[in-house]
Amino acid sequence: MTDTTHKSAVSTPASRLTLGQVAPWLFAIAFLVLLPFVFKSNAALTIMNQMMITIVFALAYNMLLGQGGMLSFGHAVYLGFGGFMCMHIMNAVEDNGLPLPLPLLPIFGGLFGLGLATIIGSFSTRRAGTVFAMISLGIGELIAACTVIIVVLFGGEEGISGDRTYGLPVFGYEFLQQIEVYYVLGFWTVLSALLMYLFSRTPVGRMANAVRDNPERAEFLGYSARWVRFYSFCASGFFAGVAGAMVAINYEILTEQSMSATQSGVILLVAFLGGVGFFFGPIIGAIVFTLLQSVLSLYTEIWQLYLGALFLATVMFFPGGLAGVLMMHVPVARLGKFGLLVMPYIKTLLPALVSVIGVSALMEIIFHYRHAPPGDEEMTLFWVTFDSHNLLAMLIAFVVAAAGFWVAKRNSGELRNAWHAANTPDGGRA
């Protein structure tokens, strides 16, 4: 409506949605709808369901870490609580024949997550930073320990299980098949992501960013940093609860594992790998992590070692995560100078990749040497079968690693220059 002013498109008080705002969402919906036509098997659907659950949970987690600057080591508690409560609802509905359609379950999961977050948040959000992190760790441990003690609520180590096909069929669907569950979860994934995105655009969402960057300044703008944190925390708890309900629907069982410290650690890993600085970072993280976990654990026993190393490298060298790395290239693409980077990238990253392969080969050989049964000296690595006790193999791996590193290091200067050139707008060319 005010499009006629000379300000840039962003600057118009947007009273109308632009295509740029809606397109990613429409694309995501279309993608989710079409995906099962490519990957048809139940296993693939189960994995995609797991991916969607991780996406919602990681986004909820990022409301704390990325947007509110609160590092939590115990966020699985809210997911677990929401999920357990949903299992109880599922069973209650089955026993009493209540008219509650399955697809509405996540609302209840969210409300229970919200409830718990309200109680815990009322004292944990008084502090930020390190203290908040420690409190979240303590609370997480406490509640996780309670899961095996309070059997009524959490069913001990067996957990609580139920049957999702209980209630009223919704439009003829009984949720017997994974594909039906897939679409229910898909709907909730998109809806939750959208709501979380919109939350970040509300006054309290904006102030969450402000409090993250500079709590003192925010206080002198009339906002209590503590209450801003509290509201973010509650909202995050709500969506973690939604993710818990999605777990309940997909697996029809909730166990203490879902609430454990491990789970809380994993979600930190996922969010950080994806990139906490951008809204879509955790989505990338969730997808990459789920795939990595399955692909790597398919090929190697020490995949967690690689994952740990990757995580540490991300923290040290790419604190923006994958999303950060991607977004670094946006200015380059805008300047239309992406071509400048292609060759230097190949010249640096290819040897770097070779080096990584060399290092991992070395690790695998050592691992095989130490842990394989004696007599079983043969191992296959990258389609080559050889004797793992032969020093030559280790030597080759080492040389490959060192050579790759050397070349990458030598060419990194070129990449740096190219990067600089690609990021500098052209002045000279008329």
Binding site: D213, N214, R217, E219
Partner: protein, 260 residues
């Protein structure tokens, strides 16, 4: 000039017997000060006189050891900074204190939120409120940062960040504005620019500023207080303070002689 108002009016800001100790050291040693509505008041003093401490006592960043601070007649004891802010007192910081990762526009918009009544709303979208966005743009216009609107605040030049700091401080529409050394570390031309800016944005408001730069204070303030070793040794119009022998002795002497 317009400083002395009727005696019965409630002062915008009133300090009574304010004291603050850190450990055994007393930094503020009994300050009494009354600032009328609409007055432009400056607090000056040599390094280590306790100017910033006084400032932090007024704005609730520190709790006083004894004494009271009243804003429009209300005692501020025990109030958190955000509560004081909501009562209409807004401050800037000596060390630039903005939201570096947010855009310039976002910085200003955030500072408008509370005053426009959004509180902790999570059902409004900030981009959908014309009043909010236009208000923020107006302030950007006032502080001459429209051209920098969509840059992250952290990449602005120092003077621009100081201007933004003032923009954030005044955006909430508070009627008592407190500026802590707004021109610290600036060149002459930059200082002139900021002074002009302060004059423009504090029209019809009460201003309290701590300042080191003499030129700024004498050109701008209605009244001046001189703080030395935690005590106010003189308060009055600039020319009176300038003439005050105690002030001359304690603080201005050398500087003034050098100037003339």
């Amino acid at each position: 000039m317009n400083a002395p108002m009727s005696k019965t009016a409630v002062p915008a800001l009133q300090l009574e017997g304010l004291r603050k100790s850190f450990g055994r050291t007393e930094i503020i040693r009994g300050v009494d000060l009354s600032i009328q509505r609409g007055e432009l008041h400056a607090v000056i003093g040599p390094n280590g006189a306790g100017k910033s401490t006084l400032f932090n006592l007024i704005t609730g960043r520190f709790a006083p050891t004894s004494g009271t601070v009243r804003l429009h007649g209300t005692d501020l004891a025990g109030m958190a900074p955000f509560q004081i802010n909501r009562m209409g007192l807004s401050r800037s910081f000596q060390i630039t204190n903005i939201f570096p990762k947010m855009t310039v526009f976002e910085n200003v918009r955030c500072s408008l939120l509370w005053s426009q009544g959004y509180r902790y709303s999570f059902w409004n979208l900030v981009s959908r409120s014309r009043e909010l966005n236009e208000g923020a743009d107006e302030i950007l216009e006032q502080i001459n940062l429209t051209a920098r609107r969509d840059l992250p605040a952290g990449v602005l030049s120092y003077a621009e960040q100081r201007a933004l700091e003032i923009g954030i401080t005044i955006a909430g529409g508070a009627d008592v504005i407190m500026l802590d050394e707004p021109t610290a570390g600036m060149s002459h031309s930059e200082t002139d620019y900021i002074v002009e800016l302060i004059r423009k944005v504090t029209e019809n408001k009460t201003l309290v500023m701590v300042e080191h730069d003499m030129g700024v204070v004498f050109g701008l303030a209605d009244r001046i207080s001189v703080l030395v070793y935690g005590e106010i040794i003189a308060t009055g119009r600039p020319e009176d303070v300038r003439a005050n022998p105690k002030v001359q002795e304690a603080y201005l002497g050398a500087a003034l002689e050098a100037e003339h």
